[in-house]
């Protein structure tokens, strides 16, 4: 009976592709938040300096 059972098809490549997309997009989004935050913090520092000089 075991001999009659078919092995599942090899779809490993598609699984890897799927998880590359999942991890990739999640990582990109995390990086985008971190980069935007860093840029805003830099802007904040510069603006605070300018504000101090003005006052």
């Amino acid at each position: 009976m075991m001999l009659l059972q078919q092995a599942p098809p090899d779809t490993t490549g598609y699984m890897i592709a799927g998880y590359v997309v999942i991890f990739g997009v999640m990582m990109l989004y995390l990086v985008s938040i971190a980069v935007r935050r860093r840029n805003l913090e830099r802007d904040m520092e510069v603006l605070k300096e300018l504000d101090k000089k003005d006052s």
Binding site: T11, M15, G18, V21, I22, V25, R36, R37, L47, D51
Partner: protein, 232 residues
């Protein structure tokens, strides 16, 4: 510089730990599906990403309602943050679905009701971001954004129900499959546990990301305020 709240730091750790366990369960705990093989493992995070997307759009609609009632800028930031997260996760949902479909349906894409409504939903929310970009005045932008998020939410139940109401080949997890559904499978207890754990993990990911994104939005607001103060 606003320090990271302690609760958020704890949430980051818990979410990361949950994610590591979920990945472990997907690859080492859940059995390989007999008919589809390894590609079925995409299902756990494919559905979870869809769940996060829909939860995000629901959050945006609720935030929109509260913004219209209170006029508090905070709710506009929550709405925008939620939409941004939703777009990212629905993108993951659509692309992983397409990758899964290739060996199972023998095509990357078909204009099936579920795939079509999900794509329309994604485009509706992409247009939300474009609409916001086109409005200069912050209060007007927030008001339009709120109304748009509420109206756009119609696409969410439509997408969810499309695989149940229309003739489709897309399988459903909750409810009865359409006669023509291809790629449906019976979940073993281990598969079900992995699936439920993935949903829980992605819910945590959503809360964690939303919190970070809202903090980013608030920081952007403060930068704008100082910019105005300096330039005037």
């Amino acid at each position: 510089m606003e320090p990271k709240p302690r609760l958020l730091a704890i949430l980051d750790i818990v979410t990361t730990a949950l994610f590591v366990v979920a990945v472990g369960m997907v690859f080492f705990y859940a059995p390989t599906e007999a008919v589809m093989g390894q590609v079925q493992r995409v299902f756990y995070f494919h559905v979870s990403a869809g769940w996060v997307g829909m939860l995000s759009f629901l959050t945006a609609a609720v935030a929109g309602i509260i913004y219209l009632r209170t006029g508090r800028r905070h709710w506009d930031i929550i709405g925008l943050s939620a939409v941004e997260i939703g777009i990212a996760f629905i993108f993951v949902n659509i692309v992983t679905g397409s990758i899964w479909a290739r060996p199972i349906w023998n095509t990357w894409w078909t204009w099936d009701p579920r795939l079509t409504t999900a794509t329309i939903m994604e485009l509706i929310y992409a247009a939300y971001l474009m609409l916001r970009q086109g409005i200069e005045e912050p209060e007007r932008r927030a008001r339009f954004g709120a109304v748009y998020a509420i109206l756009g939410f119609v696409s969410v139940p439509l997408t969810f129900m499309s695989a149940r109401l229309f003739r489709t080949i897309h399988p459903v997890v909750i409810g009865t499959n359409q006669p023509g559904a291809e790629g449906s499978f019976d979940m073993t207890p281990k598969m079900l546990q992995t699936f439920m754990f993935s949903l829980l993990t992605f819910t945590f990911i959503f809360i964690d990301l939303l919190w970070h994104r809202v903090r980013l939005g608030r920081l952007a607001d403060r930068v704008e305020e100082i910019k105005l103060k300096v330039t005037v």
